[in-house]
């Protein structure tokens, strides 16, 4: 198999299977989670409290008072990494074309050098977070194999995309194929690892916020 054939495989069969597994996995996990059900809360909900399911979805992304000062690195790098990754995925023109090819909608993208700069910032943030995780005793104690796996699965598409764009390390066609395959690995693993938080965080936050709101407190 030559490089172009590998790229064609990545854009064809591998993409079909990875999207299918990702989609099936997400639907399965959602059914599994929602199907568990909850015991009915028979108490009268409190009115006018500070809590809300929808509000919690947003507020959980903001640092609680004092926390930013205690661990600025985690917050700054966390924001840079998540927002950077989001922008790279949905605002790089080739990615928009991929989305158009899958769901048929598209929108204007950013210039390539800007996305390139965001990639560098995102990779730097991810590296800082890894080093912090390894050097901070509490974080290190809390971290398990899946945390490092999730980090690796997230870094690989960014790194290979950067290397492909700059024609580094491998021949471009091969690196582009490796980049697409790394994204497909991420897609396959997403529903079955901690990466599923990309989907489940909205459900979890809403549920937590709503449950607290019924008791008259903010989550």
């Amino acid at each position: 198999m030559n490089n172009l054939e590998l790229l064609t495989f990545a854009r064809g069969t591998a993409l079909d299977w990875s999207l299918a597994l990702c989609c099936a996995g997400i639907v399965l996990r959602l059914f599994e989670t929602l199907g568990l059900g909850r015991q009915a809360d028979l108490a009268m909900p409190r009115q006018g409290g500070p809590g809300s399911g929808w509000r919690t979805i947003v507020t959980r992304s903001l640092p609680p008072p004092g926390m930013f000062q205690r661990d600025a690195l985690t917050y700054v790098a966390g924001y840079v990494f998540h927002l950077g990754l989001f922008a790279i995925v949905v605002l790089f023109v080739p990615h928009i074309q991929l989305i158009r090819g899958v769901i048929g909608v598209s929108w204007p993208g950013l210039s390539s050098p800007l996305v390139d700069a965001l990639t560098v910032a995102t990779l730097a943030a991810l590296l800082a977070l890894l080093l912090h995780r390894l050097s901070h005793p509490v974080k290190r104690m809390l971290s398990g194999f899946e945390d490092y796996l999730s980090w690796l699965l997230t870094v690989l598409p960014l790194l290979t995309g950067y290397l492909a764009y700059h024609h580094l390390l491998l021949e471009y066609t091969l690196m582009l194929a490796v980049h697409i395959l790394s994204v497909e690995l991420l897609l396959v693993c997403l529903p079955f690892t901690k990466l599923f938080h990309a989907v489940s965080l909205f459900l979890a936050r809403w549920y937590t916020g709503d449950a607290y709101a019924r008791r008259g407190t903010a989550a």
Binding site: T8, R11, G12, L15, C23, L28, V102, L110, Y172
Partner: protein, 368 residues
């Protein structure tokens, strides 16, 4: 002279032949400087090139055409005519080329056999077209199958130049489902140096450059892993495309006649395969350096890459799926939902069983 030779009789060296045709030394040096530049050689090498080519004996060339469309021959013989490149081409001894030679039938084959005999071990074999292996009768010349003619002629060749994507990689005949069992020259001949000059068709001056390199250095140029001369196939079309700044700025044509297309914006969204295509179209161009496909408003098809025909829709961006994914995703969602229902049923059953098995403890029980 063997009956059926195409070139007029020009005994002696290439330099003598050029002088006879009225090509000045200045013109020849300019050509050699261009060649040196094309082949990424230092400028000082132009003089060496000129001396080597001038003194070279006319190189015997046998050109075999198999499963092909003659586009490669059209490209090489017509596109640059009548420039100096063509004169150089003419000044080789093209001893067999069944499209161009006047002779036919037995006389034509006799020309090939005579050239093979007279120049055993020295002649250059040029091949265009793929070789069918599914059935020898799919493509024959004078009753000889392409496979047998290739094997026989390659035996005495100094080197082989596989011209065009069909000879280099199998090309269009090899496209799925490959009904003729087409293969490339390199799939059959393993014991001779092979230079792949792919393209559908290849750029004429690339062919001339490869030939000049062979005449000058007596060997094959530096090749990439696909057997292509690095001097011409070392960079992607995208890297040297004049529309590249628009790619960097995020300016793309969405259709072939919109504002972006009229202003020369990048054709990536319209399926241009320039980013993964290694060729010199963007620098050497075609028709005496006039233009190339992207300059005339159409994206690159990637014709100098192996199996480009099966590498997805020509008019879809390189990042788009090769085949529609909606069906697979829909089926997967349904399968996921079915599995989810099954898992939910299992969990609920387990939960109900646990609930049923739960024994209520009283304070008295705890005091026991």
């Amino acid at each position: 002279m063997v009956q059926g030779k195409i070139s007029s009789p020009l005994p002696g060296t290439v330099g003598e032949g050029l002088a006879r045709r009225g090509v000045s030394r200045r013109e020849f040096l300019r050509f050699c400087t261009t060649l040196a530049s094309l082949m990424a050689l230092p400028p000082a090498m132009a003089q060496t090139l000129a001396q080597a080519i001038s003194k070279a004996r006319r190189q015997s060339v046998i050109w075999l055409s198999f499963q092909e469309c003659t586009g490669c021959t059209e490209s090489i013989t017509r596109s640059h005519s009548p420039t100096l490149e063509n004169l150089i081409f003419d000044l080789i001894s093209l001893d067999y080329h069944h499209t161009l030679q006047a002779a036919s039938a037995a006389a034509a084959e006799e020309a090939r056999e005579q050239a093979m005999k007279d120049n055993a071990g020295k002649y250059l074999l040029v091949v265009d077209g793929s070789v069918p292996l599914a059935n020898p009768g799919f493509s024959t010349i004078a009753g000889i199958s392409n496979h047998d003619m290739l094997v026989e002629t390659a035996q005495g060749a100094a080197a082989i130049v596989a011209v065009g994507s069909c000879a280099a990689f199998g090309g269009l005949p090899r496209a799925k489902p490959n009904p003729t069992g087409a293969v490339a020259v390199g799939d059959i001949i393993k014991d001779k140096p092979i230079i792949n000059v792919p393209g559908c068709p290849p750029i004429p001056v690339v062919m001339t450059g490869v030939l000049a390199h062979f005449l000058t250095f007596g060997g094959i140029p530096e090749l990439d892993p696909l057997g292509r001369p690095k001097a011409f196939y070392g960079e992607t079309i995208h890297d040297h495309c004049y529309r590249r700044p628009f790619y960097d700025q995020g300016k793309f044509a969405d259709t072939f006649d919109d504002h972006g297309a009229r202003h020369g914006w990048c054709l990536y969204k319209l399926g241009c395969k320039g980013p993964v295509t290694y060729n010199a179209c963007a620098t050497l161009k075609w028709n005496e350096g006039t233009s190339f496909p992207i300059q005339s408003g159409h994206g690159c098809l990637g014709c100098s890459e192996p199996n480009f025909w099966d590498a997805g829709n020509f008019y879809q961006a390189l990042s788009m799926p090769v085949t529609p994914v909606q069906g697979a995703v829909g089926a997967a969602a349904a399968a996921g939902a079915a599995a989810g229902v099954a898992v939910t049923w299992h969990n609920r059953t387990k939960k109900a069983a646990a609930k049923a098995a739960h024994a209520t403890l009283s304070v008295q029980d705890l005091k026991k």
